[in-house]
């Protein structure tokens, strides 16, 4: 545990400098832990796991300004993963009876699984719904692997506009994902699948307070 904490913390702090290589390693290690954690949690929905891994990674990234150097990375990430999982469970009104608490940060980091399954929701497709100012920078920087400078030249945008475009695009992407799922509250009366709109009891207590 402590070893994982120390390594992830080192990578994240470097990554926030920002050091893109360290940050990428942080995300990669994190994704393996998240995958193992979510696979266990969503044992009956294995094909949703990768979606949620991606959504959680995006949330970790978009909320990286909420990390404070004096708190354990494991606790921070666990809280984000737990929030995303609960949000997902509520929105999808999954019936799975799960009585085990989601309260142990250690558990998230006890295992890791680097074998990604195919995500069901295609973020690439979602990306295409973004406005050009955000979509183009993301596509060039990421899909073509171009630098900010090259992207700026190709798109005719300024370098800072490219950076802002990537940044805003990632936020917008997270918002699109959020809006694809029905909001937990409004969904509950009618949105129940499989005959029940009830989230597992443990889940309701932990987020509905």
């Amino acid at each position: 545990m402590e070893i994982v904490e120390e390594r992830l913390r080192g990578l994240l702090l470097q990554g926030l400098q920002p050091d893109a290589a360290a940050y990428e390693r942080f995300l990669r290690e994190l994704s393996a832990h998240l995958r193992a954690f979510l696979r266990r949690r969503l044992a009956q929905r294995p094909d949703e796991v990768e979606d949620l891994v991606q959504e959680t990674l995006l949330a970790v990234h978009n909320q990286r300004h909420t990390y404070r150097a004096d708190m354990p990375v494991t606790a921070w990430v666990h809280a984000i993963a737990r929030y995303k999982l609960i949000d997902w469970l509520r929105a999808h009104a999954v019936k799975e009876a799960r009585n085990d608490p989601l309260d142990e940060a250690d558990e998230l980091f006890a295992a890791s699984d680097s074998e990604a399954a195919e995500a069901r929701r295609d973020l690439g497709q979602l990306l295409r719904t973004l406005p050009d100012k955000q979509r183009l920078p993301i596509e060039y920087v990421k899909l073509e692997g171009l630098s900010v400078v090259e992207t700026a030249r190709l798109t005719g945008l300024s370098e800072s506009a490219v950076k802002v475009g990537v940044h805003r695009g990632l936020k917008a992407l997270a918002a699109r994902i959020r809006n694809m799922a029905p909001a937990p509250r409004s969904a509950s009366p009618s949105g129940g699948r499989e005959g029940s709109a009830l989230a597992p009891p443990g889940v309701r207590e932990s987020q509905g307070e």
Binding site: G15, P18, Q54, A59, Q63, R68, A75, K163, V166, P184
Partner: protein
């Protein structure tokens, strides 16, 4: 898109983030909330005409200190609630202290007053409007506080919404105190808190809807 590709994409977004981004947003929100409340107060109610004379009375400052202490405690609390995985620590004690002191003062005042004067001490002359005026003045800080929190990642949305409502109520009360003619601790102990309870309850209701991320 594969997860690996997503990771590369996220790593390519290398805009530096500020470690105090949340505090900055709260500072802006609190300032905007107070400024908005001041504008509303001046245009709806006006300063109390004897403000200068009142400034010599300890209770005038007591009101301000009470509201400011609550607002400060609310900020301490929200600052922690805005970050995933951070325990709220002793913030609830800070939050409980100002009302506890005020209630103690109110009980002392009531116990020393003759029986016939107790009800007037509690009701003052503005009890009907006071809570609603405070709630009205809390609107700018309420909006600003929710804006600030939408740039953060609270995980207990109803509680966080309540915290933002309480902060807004405290800032509203802080500004309302410049208009309010009441000076008795028993009045403040009931009606000021009732005024703050309105945005607090509203915040708890709206939190789960507006603060999702």
């Amino acid at each position: 898109m594969k997860t690996d590709e997503l990771i590369q994409l996220l790593a390519a977004d290398e805009r530096p983030v500020s470690a105090t981004a949340i505090e900055q947003r709260f500072a802006v929100a609190a300032a905007a909330g107070v400024a908005g409340a001041a504008v509303l107060m001046l245009s709806l109610f006006g300063l109390r005409p004897d403000l200068r004379a009142t400034m010599a009375l300890p209770m005038f400052w007591g009101k301000l200190v009470f509201a400011a202490a609550l607002a400060a405690a609310g900020l301490v609390l929200l600052r922690r609630m805005a970050r995933p995985g951070l325990a709220i620590g002793h913030a609830p004690l800070l939050l409980a202290a100002p009302p506890a002191v005020l209630w103690a003062l109110a009980l002392i005042a009531l116990s020393q007053a003759p029986a016939a004067e107790r009800v007037p001490l509690i009701l003052g002359s503005t009890w009907r409007s006071c809570p609603f005026n405070i709630a009205a003045l809390s609107v700018p800080a309420f909006v600003a506080g929710f804006w600030a929190l939408r740039g953060a990642a609270p995980t207990r949305l109803a509680w966080t919404g309540a915290g933002a409502g309480l902060l807004a109520g405290a800032l509203g009360a802080l500004v309302y105190a410049l208009h309010c003619p009441e000076m008795a601790a028993p009045f403040l102990a009931v009606w000021y808190l009732a005024g703050m309870a309105i945005p607090t309850a509203l915040g708890a209701m709206l939190g789960p809807r507006l603060l999702r991320w």
